[in-house]
Every structure is written in structure tokens, then in C-alpha cells.
């Protein structure tokens, strides 16, 4: 199978996984929802965003591999509303009434982290039956952060807008409650702390939904609703008008001109070997995602230190006219030279307030006597120190392997890149499945020998296979995406577009590099 065929197969598979998220609670619940004259979360979003604008959906595969439906019963993403880049979250009421499960909460946390780091206003399209009660222990305590994030966002002057389409009760009532602007849909929105049965139990008072939390009541009596919408479309219309009046100004003006890459991004499909052991030249990737040569861009990629630490490519380019520094693995392994080169390069980017792009294909830092003695740990630590303390925005794309501390050094999830996307060809784990199984075997053999027992190599073969299979599965992109360890698995051909959206989003806040790092041990 050619590289292209293999990648296309993976992409078809990815489409199928995305389709699961789009299907929400399934045909029956979707039809029922439509029959009530209500729109699906993505239909609401399509109407909310500007015509012809992009929508970058985040974490679409959240909860993949868990007991909960793919997508985690909420849609999150960045869309453009009246020319303003907004974080949009939308409950999917077709999945258990939009109830929040632990993955829903994690997905929303991630969305609010992105909104905070990039300084975006947030629009919440609310219709949720509250917490998924069987898993309340995983939601209730950490879930409080949802409401804290809304008001902190407001305090940072990043406005929060809640469009309430349906249930938003009990704890959920604090979403509109905490938001700066609240729009409620007539005869649909229901916002109260306690519904009629609970009220009856608590105080004996007879009441109904409408008087406790109807949109009319909140618009005319309680004042919780700032706007009363005639219907869903009207709520979206009002939401757009609110954003239009936010007087939103980005920190950085957008670039004026650039040209598309000199090489067709479609060629990326041919580039990625089916066997990750085969290295590929990341310059081929760079040529397909960075701006081509033009009057304002004399050279596609100005490589830094091309003769030193050649297993890591570093250099400068532009993407949709915006300057970026790129760190890309060329030969998988990171040696001391590569770590030192990376450290310097990250400092240079901070000196010039230039965002950084990390293109992962690493099997980790080199091991072995020579390298340990050469200071691979202190050099690896320097690199991790640099990327940990760097304050320019970081973007990460896991193209292939991302193993071991290499994942850390290349700005893996734990190092909070602004955005992290994964190609379907990627794998990520503490080490490769074969290596991990092999290590386990050696350890087991040593342990048996220490106890003076015979090591049953044949018997251990079964264990090795199970472990290998398990690590293989857990290294796969869907699994990691399901765990919210990335912001989505993407078609390599979309990489340039996605990075361009991210770089534009990043410009909502000033880009300021640092000169303060941890103590380096050179």
C-alpha cells in the first residue's frame, strides 16, 4: 500500500469517527429534537457564525474509547461572529438531554483554557439537563470551575454570552447566571435552581416550569434574561448583534499579503511513511505548510544552525503572512546537540516575539552510556526548561512518533501549547509498544534470575503480545484525542489552514516573549 493510500484509508476512518460525533444521540433523538422545531448544536453554530467563515471544531473525538458517546455531548470550537473570533460551546441535547458527563466537563475546561490563553469572548449555546448523575462524583466538585471560568473571563474583559435554548437548571442555571449577556428563547428556555417537584419537596409550594424559570419570567420579572428571543433563530440573531457591539479589537493587525505554499499541500499524503521507523524530511512538510516565495517573503524557510544538531530542524518561515519559528524532528532521536540548539532557538523566538511551531516525529532523547555521560539529561532538561518558560504562543502538530521525554521537549500536551493537533499517522507513548514489551521482558527475566527462577520466555510471549497490543491501542491518535490529549485529529492537508486559524486567534492577545527562564545547566 502506498503512503497515500494508507493515509487516505486513515482519513476515511477519521471521517467515520467524526460522523459519530455529528450523529449525536442518534437518529431517533435527532428526529425528535427536530420535530420539536429545535436545531442541533452544529445547526445552531452554522447559523451563529458569519457566512462563509471557518469553524474550527475542537476535541471532536472527546470521550472516544470511553463509556460515553464520541464528542462528549458538547460541541466546542472557534468561529467568527460578526468578525470576532469567539469560543463557541454548544450542548448536544440529543445525547441524554445534553447532560454533562466527566468528558463533557473536561472538554469545556479545555475550551475555556483556549479562550483564556487567547483572550476570546465566549458564546455558550445552552441546552443541558445538568450533570449525568451516575457520574456526579467526577463532575460535581471539579465542575465548579465551569462557573468560575465564566466570571473570570468576564473580569479579563473577555465577554461571555449565554444563549439559552432549553433546560439550564440547577447548577446549569449558573451558566446564564454568570454570563455577561443572557438571551432566552421564549417557551423553550427553562432556567431555575429547583424545578416544581424539588420546590414542592423543599417548601411545599405549588409551582410550574414557566413561573419558576420561563424565558418570559426571566425577561420581565427576575431580570436574569437580558433579551427575550421569539425563537431559536431570533436568539442566534440577538447573539450575533451582541457580539457585533462588543467593540472587539485584536491586539495585532492581520498581515496584508502572502502567497500560498510553493509545493501543493496535497503532497503531504505521499510524505508520511506507513512505518514510523522510516524517517522523513520535515523540510518537505514545511514547504507544504509555509508561505511560498513572494515579494514580502524572499525565502520559504531560513534554516537556523543547519549544520549542528541535524536531527532537529530549526528555522524561520511565514504562515499566512505571520512569522513563525519552527522546530521539527528530522531523524527521530534527540541528542545533546539538538537539545542545545532547541534551547537557543526558543530563546531567540522569545527575543523577537515570534510564535513557535513544533512538528513532532521523535522517538525521544538518546540513551546509552556515551550520551548519559555527554549530559543528555541536563541538555534535555534545558530544552524542556526553555519550552516550559517560553511565553510566545506555541503550536504543536504530532505528525508521527512522539515518544518519551521527546514528547515533553517538543512541547507535548503537558507543556500547554496554545493548540495541539495530531495527524492520523501519529503515535504517542512513553516508548514504542515493542520497546516497552521488550523492556518488560528484560525486567521480568532479571527479576526471575535474581530469585533464582527459570524465566519462562515462551510463557512470557503471551504477556508481551497483550502489552504490545494495549500500548499500540493507547498510542493511537483517536485514543489520545478521546483523552483530550490533543485538540483534534486532522487531515494533514488542512494543517496550514488550521495553523493559520490558530495564529489568527492568537493575535487576539499581544505576543510577548520572555527573557526569564529557569536556571539552565549548560
Amino acid at each position: 500500500m502506498s503512503n497515500r493510500e494508507a493515509m487516505l484509508e486513515k482519513l476515511a476512518d477519521l471521517d467515520a469517527e467524526h460522523a459519530k460525533a455529528v450523529a449525536g444521540g442518534g437518529e431517533k433523538y435527532v428526529d425528535r429534537h427536530h420535530a420539536r422545531g429545535k436545531l442541533l448544536p452544529r445547526e445552531r453554530i452554522e447559523l451563529l457564525v458569519d457566512e462563509g467563515s471557518a469553524f474550527l471544531e475542537l476535541s471532536p473525538l472527546a470521550a472516544w474509547g470511553s463509556d460515553f458517546p464520541v464528542g462528549a455531548s458538547v460541541v466546542t470550537g472557534i468561529g467568527v461572529i460578526e468578525g470576532v473570533e469567539c469560543m463557541i460551546t454548544a450542548n448536544d441535547p440529543t445525547v441524554k438531554g445534553g447532560a454533562s458527563n466527566p468528558w463533557t466537563v473536561k472538554k469545556i475546561f479545555r475550551a475555556s483554557q483556549i479562550a483564556e490563553e487567547n483572550g476570546l469572548p465566549t458564546v455558550s449555546l445552552v441546552e443541558s439537563g445538568g450533570a449525568d448523575l451516575p457520574t456526579q462524583k467526577e463532575i460535581f466538585i471539579p465542575g465548579g470551575k465551569l462557573f468560575r471560568d465564566i466570571t473570570r473571563s468576564s473580569a479579563r474583559k473577555e465577554p461571555t454570552i449565554a444563549l439559552v435554548f432549553g433546560n439550564s437548571t440547577a447548577g446549569g442555571a449558573y451558566v446564564p447566571g454568570m454570563s455577561d449577556y443572557t438571551v432566552m428563547v421564549k417557551e423553550q428556555a427553562k432556567v431555575f435552581l429547583g424545578g416544581p417537584p424539588l420546590v414542592k419537596m423543599a417548601t411545599g409550594e405549588e409551582s410550574d416550569d414557566e413561573s419558576l424559570g420561563g424565558a418570559e419570567m426571566h425577561a420581565r420579572t427576575s431580570g436574569l434574561a437580558d433579551y427575550l428571543a421569539e425563537d431559536e433563530l431570533d436568539a442566534i440573531r440577538i447573539g450575533r448583534r451582541i457580539v457585533a457591539r462588543l467593540n472587539w479589537r485584536k491586539a495585532t493587525a492581520p498581515p496584508a499579503r502572502w502567497v500560498e505554499p510553493d509545493e501543493d499541500p496535497d503532497g503531504l499524503l505521499d510524505l508520511i511513511p506507513t512505518d514510523l521507523k522510516e524517517p522523513f524530511d520535515p523540510r518537505e512538510v514545511i514547504r507544504r505548510i509555509c508561505d511560498g516565495v513572494s515579494e514580502t517573503n524572499g525565502v520559504v524557510f531560513d534554516e537556523f544552525k543547519p549544520l549542528y544538531g541535524t536531527s532537529l530542524v530549526t528555522g524561520w518561515g511565514r504562515l499566512h503572512g505571520r512569522p513563525i519559528g519552527i522546530l521539527a524532528n528530522a531523524q527521530g532521536v534527540l541528542f545533546s546537540e539538538e537539545a542545545q540548539k532547541a534551547t537557543q532557538f526558543v530563546q531567540l523566538a522569545n527575543q523577537t516575539d515570534t510564535p513557535l511551531l513544533f512538528l513532532h516525529n521523535t522517538t525521544g532523547y538518546m540513551v546509552g552510556k556515551e550520551y548519559e555521560q555527554g549530559g543528555i539529561i541536563k541538555h534535555g532538561a534545558m530544552m524542556i526548561n526553555a519550552i516550559s518558560n517560553s511565553t510566545v504562543p506555541h503550536l504543536s502538530v504530532i505528525m508521527g512518533a512522539s515518544y518519551g521525554a521527546g514528547n515533553y521537549g517538543m512541547n507535548g500536551r503537558a507543556y500547554d501549547p496554545r493548540f495541539l493537533f495530531t495527524w492520523p499517522s501519529a503515535k504517542s507513548a512513553v516508548m514504542g509498544p515493542k520497546q516497552l514489551a521488550g523492556v518488560l521482558e528484560i525486567v521480568a527475566r532479571q527479576s526471575a534470575e535474581a530469585k533464582g527462577q527459570e524465566f519462562d520466555a515462551e510463557g512470557f510471549q503471551g504477556v508481551k503480545e497483550i502489552v504490545e497490543a494495549q500500548i499500540e491501542e493507547q498510542s493511537m491518535p483517536y485514543f489520545l484525542s478521546g483523552m483530550l490529549y490533543d485538540d483534534g485529529v486532522i487531515d494533514p492537508r488542512d494543517t496550514r489552514t488550521i495553523l493559520a486559524i490558530c495564529l489568527s486567534v492568537i493575535e487576539n492577545k499581544p505576543i510577548v516573549g520572555t527573557d526569564r527562564f529557569g536556571v539552565f545547566r549548560p
Binding site: E51, S53, A54, P60, G83, I236, R237, R240, D494, I501
Partner: protein
């Protein structure tokens, strides 16, 4: 007595004013335009060397005010007045006022105008001169049917009614009288036999020199739509006899200047009858000019300066066809349209003459005739002229208003028309041969152009592919009143079912459909999206994504179809009405329009009274629909 005109005022507007100015410029005569307030921005006003404003907009306040027009001539220092056609062009009193003011009247003697002004008197005169006329039956019987009721002072088809049942006669006469009184200030009507498949053939004269004939049979509501010269399928002896009759008619009244003698011709019997004589320049004069190589306005001016005209005519060269491009909706009973003519571009090519009164951006007001332009083709043969004219019309870009363009193109390509077998009732049974499939394709092109437009207007994320999604849940939808287009965007470009988008920009989209590439040009004016292509013009109306509920009108509201005056209100609030029952009558653009109930129900609201001025789209009344009982 030879006089020289140095500065000429055209007591008219729009197309004909421009037409006269053109000849004046060629002759070195200075020009003076008069204009109402509504016409202040029209091209003819700018074209003139001087312009005089006539305050107000209604014709009765402006172009029909003899005193004001004569005063304008005096104030502007004009020494001659050309009346154009319509308005005061056949008003003897006006001609006298001009002459009395010491100005040269570019037209026939006031006596000639008077002689021909009354159709009844004109008939008597012609009969005496030996010109055949239709005998009006003294007391009509069934055998005389059908009959035609005509206004004596009329013109342009107003006050004209066909009567097919004897019992209708009295009512139709009354209606014609009312219409004539309101339109011409003279309610006199007469009745004559109606020739079913008659043709309208007219002869152009200058003085008593004949400049061939024109066929103007193709009419709608007795108003000419297509005119040509020479008349097709006319036996040579009939032609000669017609010319001779016209010469006699002109001589009978010692005619001076340009005039037209109109005849009704029955091809079945090869007989013709005098209808009337128009003592002015005709709208359709260009076809005569093209085939005879003359400038009739120049001859008019020469006649006026010399007080007589002696000349000769060469035989016609080739064939000329004129169409009248109207701002009207043939599908809605030719309802006149008003508003902004956002784009008005007619290809100017060899063999094509365009006499236009409007340009891109002009306002077409409700006060006057809705003719936008005359487009005339001249070619060696009739077929070639028709083909060329149809082609030019179909390629014209006309946006903002509904016009009769498509109808004209269909007529010019119609086999019956091409065979020269058109009678005055031709349009009665005519179906426009529009290809409906082009609406769908044009809508696709429009949707993509709109997406391109939105993409170029972006302030953030410029350069990101249109409607890009990493997870694709549904197609993008662009909704027009006429069609809904579903499409996908993204890095790989547009994807639309059944079409390949070859090229796209906000103004031009090339689609490949069934292996055929077509380029559409798209113009957006507010909600209106005009799409032109080789497949014709399609006007789409964008349905807004969002409507503020506060701006929505109650269903069942009757909206004014155009600006106008409420003539009468036929119902009262609370009254029950049937679907189609007249609710009120609106007068606009000199025509009465009945606004009927859209459905059965109860009139819950009447918002206007007779005499009220209403704007287009204004709510006139509300009819609440009856709720039908529906069983489970």
C-alpha cells in the same frame, strides 16, 4: 419666411428629449431641457446645455403645464420648442401658446393638430378626402360584434376597450369614458368595428412626402411593443395604396412637418382603413430613419425653420425592428415597475441603435410612462434584424427592475413573428419561452458569488478557505426566494451537486454543468441578486438569514404593490371576505390596481382611507385567515 433656430427647448423628458438633443448637437443648436423634480437626475437633463426645473413631479404640475413650459422657454432664451411625443405634443393650445410667445413651434400648424385631434372629426375629414375609414355602427347589433370603444382624444391604448358581448357595451363605454376623462381631460368616446386579426400599419410623412410604412401590429393592451419597417408580407399594391392614402391625408390638411397616418390593415381581405393621424414624431420613428437613412428630427427642424418641406425618399434599405423596453412585469399583467435601475447596460454594436432615457443608477418613478429605452436593429433582412436584436437584448444587463426584456426576446425568436404573421392580438395567447432550468443554475452561481463576496469582505481570517470545516456536519445553505442552494466549501474548493465550479469571484462565476461551461455575471444590490449569462437574466431575491421579529408584518397583511393613491376601499373592518374578493383599489402609474383578499377570512384591520398616499410595501389592510377545522 426662413427662420433660424439657435436654442431649442424640448417640452418633454427622458428618451425623446435625448433623441432631439442629439440632432440639435449635430446641427449646432443649443439645447434646453425641462425637468420635474423626479427627473432631475436623468441623463437627458445633464445632456442639455441648459435645464429648467418645473417644481413637482405629477405630469399635471409639470410637463402638462403650458404656462410653465412656455415660461421655461422664455427664461432660458430658447427660440424654438420641440414637443417630443405624448404630453403636450398634440395639444393645439400649446402649439398656439408657443407661437404666440414668438417662438418657433417644431411641429404642424395648430389647425392640423386640431383637425386630427378629434378622432371623430378626423374620420370625417379623411372620408371626404377619399381615404377609407371604418364605419361606426349607429346602433350596434350582434352582427357588428366585436366592437372597439375608443377615446376620441386618446392615444397609447388608454381608454380603449374591446366589447364582445352586446350587454357589456354600455358598461365598457362608461369605463372608457371615465378613463379617458381622467387621462386626457376629455371623456368623448366612439365605437367602431373591431377587426379581429388586423394589423397596424402606419405611414410616415413629412409634409406630404411619404417615408415608407411601419408595421406596429405587435401590441399589448393596445400599446405598441415591437415596430418595424418596412411592413412584412404586404402586397406591393397595398403598400402603394397605403402610401397614396397617407399622402392624400396629409395633403387634405396641408400638413407641415413630421406626422404619421395610422391604418388598420386586414390581411385576409387586403383592405385597410384610416385609424388616425398622429401630428408629431412617433416613438417608433427610428425604424424609418434606419431604413431610409434620414434624420426625422432634422427634417422636423428644417420644416419648422422653412415652414415647409420638399424632399424625396429613397427606397428602404434592409429591415429595421424596434422594441420598446419597459419596466413592467409581463407575468403580472404588465404591471409597471418603479425603483432604482441599478444596472442598465445594453451592448452598443454595429447595426444596433439604443435610444435610452435612463442609465445605470437611474430612478424610474411612478409618475410617467415606464419605457426605459428603445432598442433598434437594422440588418439586410428581417430575420437578421430579429436575430441580432434578440441577441443584444438577451446580453443586456438590466438589474433592479422587472422588465419585458425576456418577453421581447421570446417574441423576436417566435416562429409566427418571424413569419411576419403577427396581428394586434398576438400577445394575447403568447407564452414566453423562458427556460426555467436557468433559475437553478443561476442560483448556484449567485450563491457562490455571494460566498466569495463574504470571503473578500472578511476582517479576520482572510485567506482561510470559504466555509472551511474540520468536521463537516452539513452543507452551507444560501436561500433565495426562488431557490435554495446547498454547497460545501473548504480547502478543495466549492462542491455543489451537479455542478463543477470552474472559477469564482464576487462578480463572475463559471460553472460546468453536464459538461458545458457557462459563465455567469452576478450583481448584488441589497437583497436583489441579478445573474446574467448566455442562458438569460435571472433575478433572485435573497432571503435574509435573520429577520428581526419586530420588523415582520402580520400574516394576511395586504401590502401596497407599488406607491400610489388609494381610490376606494370596498370592505369594512370586521367584515368577512372570500379569497380573491376586492378589498381596495389603488391608483398608481395612471392605472388602477385592485388589491384582493389573499384568502378567505375576516378583515381585522383597514389602515388606509380613500385618497391616502401609500408607499410600496405599506400595509393597507389585514385579513385574518379563517381557521379550518381539521379532524384528527
Amino acid at each position: 419666411m426662413k427662420r433660424t433656430i439657435t436654442r431649442l427647448l424640448v417640452a418633454n423628458r427622458a428618451e425623446i428629449a435625448s433623441r432631439v438633443f442629439r440632432t440639435c448637437r449635430a446641427l449646432g443648436i443649443e439645447t434646453v431641457a425641462i425637468h420635474s423634480d423626479a427627473d432631475a437626475a436623468l441623463p437627458y437633463v445633464r445632456e442639455a446645455d441648459h435645464a429648467v426645473r418645473l417644481p413637482g413631479s405629477a405630469p399635471s404640475d409639470t410637463y402638462l403645464r403650458i404656462d410653465l413650459v412656455v415660461d421655461a422657454a422664455r427664461r432660458s432664451g430658447a427660440d424654438a420648442v420641440h414637443p417630443g411625443y405624448g404630453f403636450l405634443s398634440e395639444n393645439a393650445e400649446f402649439a398656439r401658446a408657443v407661437v404666440d410667445a414668438g417662438l418657433i413651434w417644431v411641429g404642424p400648424a395648430p389647425e392640423s393638430i386640431e383637425a386630427m385631434g378629434s378622432k371623430i372629426r378626423a374620420k370625417e375629414l379623411m372620408q371626404a378626402a377619399g381615404v377609407p375609414v371604418l364605419e361606426a355602427p349607429a346602433s350596434p347589433t350582434e352582427a357588428d360584434l366585436p366592437l372597439l370603444v375608443k377615446a376620441s382624444a386618446g392615444g397609447g391604448g388608454r381608454g380603449m376597450r374591446v366589447v364582445r358581448r352586446l350587454e357589456d357595451l354600455a358598461g365598457e363605454v362608461a369605463k372608457a369614458e371615465a378613463e379617458a376623462l381622467s387621462a386626457f381631460g376629455d371623456g368623448t368616446v366612439f365605437v367602431e368595428p373591431y377587426v379581429e386579426r388586423g394589423r397596424h400599419v402606419e405611414v410616415q410623412v413629412v409634409g406630404s412626402v411619404v417615408f415608407g410604412e411601419r408595421d406596429c401590429s405587435l401590441q399589448r393592451r393596445h400599446q405598441k411593443v415591437v415596430e418595424e419597417a418596412p411592413a412584412p408580407n404586404l402586397p406591393e399594391e397595398v403598400r402603394t395604396a397605403l402610401h397614396e392614402a397617407a399622402r392624400k391625408a396629409a395633403e387634405a390638411i396641408d400638413y407641415r412637418g413630421a406626422g404619421t397616418v395610422e391604418f388598420l390593415y386586414d390581411p385576409a381581405t387586403e383592405r385597410f382603413w384610416f385609424l388616425e393621424m398622429n401630428t408629431r414624431l412617433q416613438v417608433e420613428h427610428p425604424v424609418t430613419e434606419l431604413v431610409h437613412g434620414v434624420d426625422l428630427v432634422k427634417l422636423q427642424i428644417a420644416s419648422a425653420e422653412a415652414d415647409w418641406y420638399m424632399g424625396w425618399t429613397d427606397p428602404p434599405t434592409g429591415h429595421a425592428i424596434e422594441v420598446r423596453l419597459y419596466a413592467e412585469d409581463p407575468a403580472a399583467d404588465y404591471q409597471p415597475q418603479s425603483g432604482t435601475l441599478t444596472t442598465f447596460e445594453i451592448p452598443r454594436e454595429d447595426g444596433i441603435r439604443v435610444d435610452a432615457g435612463f442609465e445605470s443608477g437611474s430612478e424610474v418613478s411612478t409618475h410617467y410612462d415606464a419605457m426605459l429605452a428603445k432598442v433598434i436593429a437594422h440588418a439586410p433582412t428581417r430575420e437578421q434584424a430579429a436575430r441580432k436584436l434578440a441577441s443584444v437584448l438577451s446580453r443586456a444587463r438590466i438589474h433592479g427592475l422587472v422588465t419585458n426584456r425576456d418577453l421581447l426576446v421570446s417574441i423576436l425568436r417566435d416562429p409566427t413573428f418571424l413569419a411576419g404573421e403577427v396581428s394586434t392580438d398576438f400577445l394575447g395567447g403568447f407564452e414566453t419561452g423562458l427556460r426555467p432550468s436557468s433559475t437553478t443554475d443561476s442560483a448556484v452561481a449567485a450563491a457562490i458569488a455571494l460566498a466569495e463576496r463574504a470571503t473578500q469582505a472578511r476582517t479576520v481570517q482572510r485567506g482561510i478557505p470559504v466555509a472551511w470545516r474540520n468536521v463537516v456536519p452539513q452543507p452551507q445553505r444560501t436561500v433565495f426566494e426562488e431557490a435554495t442552494v446547498e454547497w460545501f466549501g473548504g480547502s478543495a474548493g466549492y462542491a455543489v451537486d451537479g455542478h463543477e465550479v470552474v472559477a469564482a469571484s464576487p462578480t463572475e462565476v463559471t460553472l460546468e454543468t453536464d459538461g458545458v461551461r457557462t459563465t455567469y455575471s452576478i450583481a448584488v444590490h441589497g437583497a436583489a441578486v441579478d445573474v446574467d449569462s448566455a442562458r438569460g437574466h435571472v433575478r433572485l431575491t435573497r432571503v435574509p438569514r435573520f429577520v428581526d421579529p419586530a420588523e415582520q408584518v402580520a400574516s394576511g397583511s395586504l401590502l401596497a404593490p407599488m406607491p400610489g393613491t388609494v381610490v376606494s376601499v370596498a370592505v369594512e373592518a370586521g367584515q368577512r371576505v372570500e379569497a380573491g374578493q376586492p378589498v381596495l383599489v389603488l391608483e398608481a402609474m395612471k392605472m388602477q390596481h385592485t388589491v384582493s383578499a389573499p384568502h378567505s377570512g375576516v378583515v381585522s384591520e383597514i389602515d388606509v382611507k380613500p385618497g391616502a398616499q401609500v408607499a410600496a410595501g405599506e400595509v393597507l389592510a389585514v385579513v385574518e385567515p379563517e381557521l379550518e377545522e381539521v379532524g384528527e
